[in-house]
Symmetry: C2
Subunit: 137 residues, 2 copies
Amino acid sequence: MPDTDARPSALRPTRQRRAITDALANAADFQSAQEIHDTLRRTGDKVGLATVYRTLQAMAESGDVDVRHNPAGEATYRRCSDSHHHHLVCRSCGRTVEITGSAVERWAHAVADEHGFSEVSHTVELVGLCAECARRQ
Amino acid sequence: MPDTDARPSALRPTRQRRAITDALANAADFQSAQEIHDTLRRTGDKVGLATVYRTLQAMAESGDVDVRHNPAGEATYRRCSDSHHHHLVCRSCGRTVEITGSAVERWAHAVADEHGFSEVSHTVELVGLCAECARRQ
DNA sequence: TTACGTGCAAACGGTTTGCATGGGT
DNA sequence: ACCCATGCAAACCGTTTGCACGTAA
């Protein structure tokens, strides 16, 4: 039987994919592909680096995970709907403070609605000068 | 003679540096180092790619410009205090809508103040599914 | 004249891709 | 059996770095 509608297709539940999903589930924060690969190796799951990249990319495309880039330019991933926070980073010393702000969350949804967008996730990053570095300069 | 701990600071006002500053001033949005390099070549300013990278890096470090990473992972730069906007991006087709929201600006400053941070700049990125792509899926 | 700034090209490192094999359906 | 998923390694590409020369101070 010819399958109706050739959707990009559902991903196959392979051992590797499950391992990656688990790693993401256990991660508290954004993880780079390489970090995830390292984690898997440590837990004994043998998964090729290319597979990690391809899988994360696919999951990102289908909206299963959020992507962002860390200051080093590496792509990092986090499973969606994670209760998440944002970061306030000192541009001088790199000191980081975690921020939670329901205000931004509401704003993000309002803006998305206004433009007909759905399933919105957001990334917010505040960069400034921490009190200590400001004093030193 | 033992050098008296030379400080790196105090950038010299060279032709190249001025060209890069000008390019940033004329740019309406975040530009990658390569885009800036292309712009300079087009306007006849001969500046080495490495110099563009080094200069932008120095300017970012000293807080003269803001850095962010585009979806492709490239570092992009924008001169500070630019009247700026944010982006609402469709994760499926890449369609982008420019957003201006004074609400976030206020929130960013409030949060920074609360933690003793100054000279804050912020990056906000909303990723979702645009109406058209949502319909198609 | 003395470093810093620059240009060039080679080196780097994260990510992607070609191809042959393995495994889900 | 069919074909997507995987692994490996080479290819890619943005960015960084070593070194010799140019140039502001």
